[in-house]
């Protein structure tokens, strides 16, 4: 036993070292690939410099006229718009599904300085939508991976890597370096933080989000006038003063996301940013004469029409951030006295069942092989997930069917998903992906009186994640 533990420990160390080595190799490969692309660009620019037309005579470098020509001849852009783009600096917060396409188009358009903030590393589950990252970059910092790609796309810009997440403490130092901010993050806490710092530092904010097949886009704090000036654009708190309940917040990892959906929202962010910069409306003075009502663009893949634009309110008279009565200050924010996690609530793992109401995955597996007929396993994941993989013999009753008024408690009738052949005292086990929803359902089934006749109802602790760890290593992780 002791020697087995030692062997396992040695193997773990060996695996960790090998993984580290693999990560380094992938990084070297990605660097080399970017360099070879960069070199081919340099060769072109060396030839361009031999051209007798000197840079001084013209405001842009010779190559830039070619590179940006197709957008410069669009009447709304022109040489003036291109020069504004060149002199502008944009901060992209989040290098994920929104940030990747947004950054690609912003770099392509020639925005002079681009900063990217993200503390995460590239994972395989990102690749279907986060188009700046690639298979060889799994494990690399997202910011480094994104900048590698962008440098190969357009080596003539300045890129700033901010490799940790935006926090109340670091936000002033980072955001103050830029003219415009894109919120490409994925959580209510960061949405409120970014909006607040943009109000305080008078930066316009292009905010987008996406989940499953739907997306939202809003241009906030534009024009970016001082708090209390009603002519300024509304902030995120004006539109959504109350954060959604923490337990209702669904991430792309839990709810799913289509690549083109988040892609279209990120591309639209880049478009709004380009419009704001090229038209000279970035600053409060440039935008005052053409104030129009703020709007939110809603995109729903399956809706008719798929795009809807709704008119938003102007600044909320009692807004905490941007009204004359605002309680928000730079000191308060950067000292960390504003608790965004507390404001938005914390989604703690569910823990509502007693020890005797839960069973380990390996215990259930044992029980299943011993007597397979006289119990019922209820899988409460949504049907799309159940169809991907399920435990043999389990029945699917999605968690959503227990929500709202759709599940009548204690109405005396046996639910139709319980087979007639199941003995009235046969145990019911509930399983889900991670072991949270299964507890909620177990509790509701008991409250509905299904546990009379001495029937045992309990959930599988840790859900199908534990099933993979303890019982079936081949279980697909999606």
């Amino acid at each position: 036993m002791d020697s087995a533990t030692k062997t396992a420990e040695r193997l773990r160390i060996q695996i960790a070292a090998t993984e580290e080595q693999l990560k380094n190799l992938k990084g070297q490969l990605a660097d080399l690939e970017a360099q070879s692309l960069g070199n081919s660009f340099q060769n072109v620019s060396v030839q361009e410099e031999l051209d007798p037309v000197t840079h001084e005579k013209w405001p842009l470098a010779a190559e830039d006229y070619k590179r940006y020509g197709r957008q410069m001849i669009v009447p709304n852009i022109g040489i003036q718009g291109q020069l504004r783009l060149k002199n502008a600096s944009v901060l992209i917060v989040g290098a994920g599904g929104l940030g990747c396409p947004a950054a690609a188009y912003i770099a392509g358009a020639g925005v002079g300085t681009i900063g990217i903030v993200d503390g995460d590393e590239v994972e395989t589950s990102n690749l279907h939508r986060q188009i700046l990252h690639s298979t060889s970059k799994v494990g690399m910092k997202k910011v480094d991976s994104a900048i590698l790609y962008l440098k190969s796309l357009n080596p003539n810009l300045k890129y700033n890597a901010h490799t940790s997440h935006l926090t109340p403490e670091n936000s002033q130092g980072i955001v103050s370096q830029y003219d415009l901010v894109l919120d490409c993050t994925d959580h209510p806490t960061s949405r409120y933080l970014i909006s607040d710092i943009c109000v305080l530092l008078q930066k316009p904010l292009v905010s987008a989000s996406a989940l499953r097949t739907d997306g939202q886009l809003i241009v906030l704090n534009s024009p970016p006038l001082l708090a209390g000036n009603e002519a300024g654009g509304p902030c995120y708190r004006c539109v959504f003063p109350k954060p959604p309940p923490a337990e209702s917040v669904v991430s792309c990892g839990d709810g799913g996301i289509l690549g083109p959906v988040v892609g279209v929202m990120g591309v639209l962010q880049a478009l709004e940013a380009t419009k704001l910069i090229a038209s000279g409306k970035l600053t409060s003075s440039g935008s005052e004469e053409a104030k129009k009502d703020a709007s939110m663009l809603l995109f729903s893949t399956n809706s008719n029409p798929p795009f809807r634009s709704v008119r938003l309110r102007s600044r909320r008279p009692k807004c905490f951030a941007c009204s004359a009565e605002a309680g928000l200050t730079l000191e308060g924010l950067s000292s960390g006295s504003l608790d965004y996690v507390l404001f938005c609530g914390i989604n703690v793992p569910v823990s509502i069942l007693g020890r005797d109401e839960r069973i380990e995955a390996k215990e259930y597996a044992k029980l299943k092989t011993e007597n397979r007929t006289d119990h019922l396993l209820v899988d409460v994941r949504e049907k799309v997930q159940f169809d991907i993989c399920s435990i043999e013999g389990s029945v699917n009753v999605p968690f959503s069917s227990f929500q709202g008024s759709r599940f009548k408690e204690g109405d005396g009738k046996q639910p139709t998903w319980i087979p007639q052949s199941l003995p009235p005292d046969a145990p019911i086990y509930v399983v889900c992906r991670l072991g949270n929803d299964s507890q909620v359902v177990t509790k509701r089934l008991k409250e509905s009186g299904l546990n009379k006749n001495g029937r045992y109802i309990g959930d599988i602790k840790g859900g199908l994640k534990s099933w993979k760890e303890q019982v079936d290593s081949s279980w697909p992780e999606y």
Partner: protein
């Protein structure tokens, strides 16, 4: 999410994002006229718990225009026949 017209005496309500998952519907028709102040109650009766779990953090529009939810027992605006109401919860993921 249909573009079909509401039957006489009804308005259309569109459910976006988490309102869509909570009701399992993209849209439906509800009886008009309805004071805006009664909208959340009406929906909460139909979909138990929806007010606290979804509606209170939502943006509400009538015919694509933002509306303020009435406070202190006021009726606010009236939702009329043929109006299109949208329930728009904040989406934060990306």
């Amino acid at each position: 999410m249909g573009s079909s017209k509401a039957p006489p005496g009804h308005f259309t309500i569109l459910y976006f994002a988490s309102a869509n998952s909570y009701t399992s519907k993209d849209s439906e028709f509800l009886p008009a006229r309805l004071p805006l102040a009664k909208l959340f109650e009406t929906l909460d009766e139909k979909y138990g718990g929806m007010k606290a779990k979804v509606l209170e953090s939502c943006l509400v529009t009538i015919n694509l225009e933002y509306v303020d939810m009435p406070e202190n027992g006021e009726d606010g605006v009236i939702i009329n026949e043929d109006d299109e109401v949208a329930i728009i919860p904040p989406v934060s993921s990306g």
